[in-house]
Amino acid sequence: MTDADFKFPPIYNFPPFYTKQPNETTWQSQSQQWIGLVLDYCKQKRIWVLNSDGVPLSKNDSELDSDEEVDSLSLFANEKIQRSLKRETIGEIYAQMVTEGSAEYLSPVSTSLSRSLKKATPQDQSIIVYWRKPEDWATMLLEWVEKTGQLGGILTLYELQASESVKSQPFYKINSTVLVRALDVLVKMGRAQVLKEEGGKISGVKIV
């Protein structure tokens, strides 16, 4: 990737970082460093989804959750040293992230997000990167709703994501799936009720 404003760690330019290390202990260290890098990078760039090649799929663009590639370069490829991680190894890193709770496989959920995604095989999986946990987003949403005196009112997902009133909030332009996960947390706490359209798509939420 070519990006001046993100400071890659030195290991990003170490050629063997792009080969899965056969020594199990070394690989543990290697994969942990990759996971840390993915989380830091996505957090700074507000990237929500990485495809199976490590290419960011949706960014904080005005069209929420567009499936278009915002950047055709993979985070796992380094042109400067001409190395890239094999797709299979990327898959292993993703699997580890999912196990650790720092990512989730992208699968059809009841939002607009799933609209053009083909049925994915395990080898060809995109992930949603949780550079912040759904629980943290849930707390932020709740605080904002409380502070703005909107408890008990009905809010659309769009209002929470993209209206003028949330422009200064950290969850402005939050990815729809991540938002739904955060609302799930609130529902479990008994602090939210979601309103669904026909077909199960969530259209709004009442936070109490």
Binding site: F14, P15, P16, T19, Q21, T26, T139, G190
Partner: protein, 237 residues
Amino acid sequence: MTTPKSDTEQYKTLGNAILERQSAELQAQLAVFQSALTNFARDHGEQIKNNAQFKQQFIKLCQSIGVDPLSLSNYTPSGVKFTKTSSHDRDEYYNNLAVKVIETCRATRDANGGIISVDELISRLEDATYTPTAKDIEKAVADIKLLDGSFSIFPVKNKLFIKSIPEELNSDQQVIFETCGLMGYVSPGMLRDNYGWGRVRCRDVLEAMVRKGLLWVDEPGPKQEVLYWEPSWINMG
């Protein structure tokens, strides 16, 4: 929302929110206090050093709020101030440094198999106020070695390494480290051309070192020779 259960949950949420806010405030206060303490140490370094009781209290205070006394400039041995001070200060400095060396060797062992270059160690220990010298590190490692024989410092060409594992490098492995000193890596081809090693010897030596975590494998692509990198080059990129 009048059932007892949801009330309980609401109290819980509220309680959590208050706790979080308090903890954030405390964090901020602690940070302020830490920086005040650092400034205090800088302004009153002489008094702290010359009054044993004062110093003891000061170090206790540092430890309890998470300021590293070692990082405060008055404990730097190569600084002018240090040379005037007692041997007690000097011992304390090296003891602290030894602890940091052990910590860093442990923290990086998964990535480097237990051998770290002194340069890398220094770059990991230095901060805005303080940089240990290679001499300091050597002295600290000599102290550690008395307690734990597996620690030692050794030169490869003109680069110093510290090992924190019991095994010694054999002569073939030393040759690999030496050759890695040039470009960061070796390949079987390089070993064959420069040292006349046979295929089996190359493979056995390199694979054994990978198994010990001392080398990282680099497969640049199809039809290209596999390279073996020495991990201290991670920080030279």
